[in-house]
């Protein structure tokens, strides 16, 4: 019998994993966190996710068509969808549609596709988009609504959509009701004014046992999703482990020095975007370090930078900046962290 004259190469086994499946599983792992987020901060979160996903798919499809690349097969890899969702999770719950659109366009077209598309972008697209928005629209990007327990009024899904597209609030609400600061914001602002942490915590009802109301549970839910990803071996343990332990370590040191001026390690771990960043953003394989030791360094660097930016930087949270700065260092880290190859005595550098 004659077989295909085309040359096939070993190994010749059925595919065990696929990029689409990895991306889909990461999206699934986000669901608990998203659900808790929507529960505490309202339907605006869902509106952001829906719009951002839609814009992301549109933007990626458009540029793929312009670049004459297969549109549908490439969209099926799920990476654009994931970028859209991650960017949406970084936005304040009630964000105008055009803010989301600008962020997505920057993330997908400039940060990802102009560099060559999936696998070739040096910076995390979602975080690049977010940072562009934070710098360009500081007002819109720092207007947060209160968590469920503190909200006097909230919007239903339809009202949330209407607000996103028209900017008009329901009659019973005014803009001040959705223009609050986050717990990390508050702490920075009041510490700068000379208050100590006990005073700040007693002054505001937004704080709770671990960190802030709602925020802590969202962090726990993202942690749970992240642990599931680790269990499924879809992400490497090194980056989240190094990130969280470096954060724990440095925050513990400063907290022990002055607990009235430095937030506790627990607060840091469960505030802001810590868990989302540790398990879903810093772990983006394309932009992170790839060697085993390099990943430990990368994660630890992210953790340290998040703490530094939160404590002394110009922004209340620092996950996005920390990840982007470490993205910048990843090639260098990789270069100096090559593993010792079997059969060689010395580690190569």
């Amino acid at each position: 019998m004659e077989f295909s004259q085309q040359q096939h190469y070993s190994p010749q086994t059925p595919a065990q994993a696929s990029v689409s499946r990895v991306m889909l599983n990461v999206i699934l792992a986000l669901i608990p966190g998203i659900a808790v987020y929507i529960h505490y901060f309202g339907w605006g979160v869902l509106v952001n996710i829906v719009l951002a996903s839609l814009f992301a798919l549109l933007a990626e499809g458009l540029i793929l068509a312009i670049r004459r690349r297969p549109v549908v097969t490439t969209l099926m890899d799920g990476s654009a969808l994931l970028t859209g969702i991650l960017l949406a999770l970084a936005l304040p719950s009630y964000t105008a549609w055009w803010v989301t659109a600008v962020g997505i366009i920057f993330a997908i077209i400039i940060a990802k596709q102009l560099y060559g598309g999936l696998g070739l972008n040096p910076f995390n697209p979602a975080m690049t988009g977010y940072v562009v928005l934070l710098i360009s629209f500081p007002l819109e990007m720092t207007r947060w609504n209160p968590p469920l327990e503190l909200a006097e009024q909230s919007m239903n899904l339809l009202e949330a959509f209407r607000y996103s597209f028209t900017g008009s609030l329901p009659q019973r609400m005014d803009i001040d009701m959705i223009s609050l600061a986050t717990p990390l914001d508050l702490v920075r602002g009041r510490l700068d004014m000379g208050f100590n942490l006990s005073q700040i915590r007693s002054e505001y009802s937004i704080f709770s046992n671990l960190s802030g109301k709602g925020t802590e549970l969202i962090n726990i839910a993202f942690l749970a999703g992240g642990l599931w990803l680790l269990y499924r071996r879809l992400i490497d343990w090194r980056i989240p482990a190094a990130l969280l332990s470096s954060m724990l370590l440095i925050s513990a040191v400063f907290w022990l020095i002055n607990p009235e001026f430095y937030l506790s390690p627990v607060f840091h771990l469960f505030a802001g975007a810590t868990m989302l960043g540790a398990f879903f953003i810093a772990t983006d394989p394309v932009t992170a370090s790839t060697t085993p030791v390099g990943r430990l360094i990368f994660g630890a660097g992210c953790g340290l930078l998040i703490y530094i930016i939160r404590s002394w930087g110009g922004y209340p949270d620092g996950v996005a900046f920390a990840v982007l700065l470490m993205n910048l260092s990843a090639p260098l880290i990789d270069h100096f962290s090559q593993p010792r190859i079997t059969g060689y005595r010395e580690r190569k550098s």
Binding site: E2, F3, Q7, S10, G119, I341, G343
Partner: protein
């Protein structure tokens, strides 16, 4: 049970072994035609020493060797040499090689030979020569001439490791050999131990072959130098370096050999072949071949003569299923695809794997590398496959070499786990061959430059010589010119004289 170690990386693969082990090894009948390639392994091809029309006996040498890294070939059965021609080889290139075609006479008549009374009496180099002339090569797949391995070359050999790991999925020929003929393996081990003066022999077998382990264990108790060791099932634990790591915890140096650690690794089937060669004076003319896969109706193991067309074995195994679409020699991880089953079985053919589309589903959808690092985790050599992939795409040969491309054992683990289905190993093979080509070209260029320089020198020398000759000739001519003048002058004088004579005669006439 001694302490075992782990090698880095590796993957757990579905074994698919049971499908071919339910039936005992079956002796394949002598085929209508035997196709014996003169080149079946690493090293130089054998040189044909028979002629068309010549009758040969079973076991008669038909291809001899003069180079060191080479092995002779023998007639697998008695019959007539009917042709010697080019035939596609069971090699990735499918390039044709010289093949001796024998029409068996069905008598299967052995060549006469003298039995050896006691191998321990034999000189060790004589023993190695006997193994060499029996055409014995490694039967695990690489087919390296075995007598070379059996030369301790001044090293004290602490361990001879017989590799019965058989870690590639589907393949079961070594398993069946150990189950059914454990004494052959152990008798071969005795001879090899003697040749190497090895202190200890370990037969290492993956734990998924309990029958083989049990069969060998019942015989092994007699010998205090022999250990049968079960090892964890993880691919590629049967790789020479990986096996040494598992059994001893030691790394073979990158450019070195197991010999540097006082160890020799050889396949269990090779040991059995050595037993046949020395104890029965039967050269390597047959081997056990697994015919398996979802594309063949009745998977099983055959003892087939070297030179049997693969199509015969497939036929014996019930033939192809309707959806069979690929024929692989070797396992799915490192085997090569053949374009036709007219290819003959050679010494290295351990397995014929017939696949169906489901067996290689997904390989067509290749996505960009997302740098997930799964390949780094599974690499048994601790290379950075994704980094090597970028470099081989960009043809950065220097970076490929500084990232140790040449330490890649091409086991395929990285490719199997790649979520983007990138054929990484193929990139690495290509990278290696590009670098080899470049080195060859540099060598050629160097030689060409040397030649051109030599030519320039030679031309200059010739020119100078010619010039000198010219000069010499010119001088000669100049000298000749003087002589010419003299002659001319003499001629002129004679003429003048003659003229004077006639003139006087005329004058005389005038005067008269």
């Amino acid at each position: 049970m001694s302490k075992l170690y782990r090698f880095p990386g590796g993957v757990k693969l579905p074994g698919h072994k049971a499908i071919s082990t339910s039936q005992p090894i079956r002796k394949a009948p002598i085929p209508d035609r035997l196709f014996v390639p003169l080149r079946q392994h690493i090293g130089s091809a054998a040189e044909c020493i028979v002629e068309k029309g010549q009758r040969v006996l079973k076991g008669q040498m038909i291809g001899r060797v003069s180079d060191y890294v080479a092995a002779p070939v023998h007639a697998p059965s008695s019959g007539t040499v009917i042709d010697i021609q080019k035939f596609p080889a069971a090699h990735a290139s499918s390039l044709p090689s010289d093949v001796i075609i024998i029409e068996p006479d069905g008598k299967d008549e052995w060549m006469q030979s003298e039995p050896i009374a006691d191998i321990t009496e034999l000189d060790k180099s004589e023993l190695r020569n006997m193994i060499r002339f029996a055409g014995i090569v490694g039967l695990g797949g690489a087919a390296f001439p075995t007598f070379i391995k059996l030369n301790p070359a001044g090293h004290q050999i602490s361990k001879l490791i017989l590799n019965g790991a058989e870690c590639e999925p589907y393949i079961s020929c070594d398993d069946m050999l150990m189950r059914e003929r454990p004494h052959e393996v152990i008798d071969g081990a005795k001879i090899m131990r003697h040749a190497l003066n090895a202190e200890q022999v370990i037969i290492a077998i993956e734990d998924n072959k309990p029958e083989a382990i049990a069969a060998l264990n019942t015989l092994a108790d007699e010998y205090d130098w022999l250990d049968v060791q079960g090892i964890p099932v993880i691919y590629p634990t049967g790789g020479e370096r990986q096996l040494i790591k598992v059994l001893t915890g030691k790394d073979v140096p990158s450019q070195g050999l197991p010999l540097d650690l006082g160890m020799v690794v050889s396949n269990v089937a090779t040991a059995a072949a050595i037993h046949h060669a020395i104890d029965h004076q039967q050269p390597l003319i047959s081997r056990i071949v697994t015919v398996t896969g979802s594309g063949v109706r009745s998977p099983q193991n055959f003892e087939a003569l070297i030179g049997t067309p693969m199509s015969d074995l497939i036929e014996l195994a019930g033939g192809y299923t309707d959806d069979a679409d690929r024929l692989v020699v070797g396992g799915p991880m490192m085997g090569i695809t053949l374009k036709t089953d007219a290819t003959p079985v050679v010494k290295a053919s351990n397995c014929l794997l017939v696949q169906t589309p489901a067996d290689h589903a997904g390989e067509a959808i290749i996505r960009p590398c997302i740098r997930c690092g799964e390949c780094v985790k599974v690499c048994p050599v601790k290379l950075l496959p994704q980094q090597l992939y970028w470099y081989s795409q960009a043809k950065y040969h220097d970076d490929l070499q500084s990232h140790n491309l040449f330490d890649c054992i091409e086991c395929g683990c990285c490719t199997v786990v790649c979520p983007s289905h990138i054929p990484l190993v193929q990139y690495f093979r290509f990278g290696k061959s590009e670098i080899w080509k470049k080195q060859q070209e540099t060598l050629k260029a160097d030689r060409a430059r040397e030649r051109s320089e030599a030519k320039t020198l030679r031309l200059e020398r010739i020119k100078a010589e010619k010039k000198a000759q010219h000069a010499a000739r010119a001088k000669k001519t100049a000298a000749g010119a003087g002589r010419k003048k003299e002659i001319e002058a003499a001629v002129a004088r004679t003429k003048a004289k003659k003229a004077g004579d006639t003139g006087s005669a005329e004058n005389a006439t005038d005067n008269a």
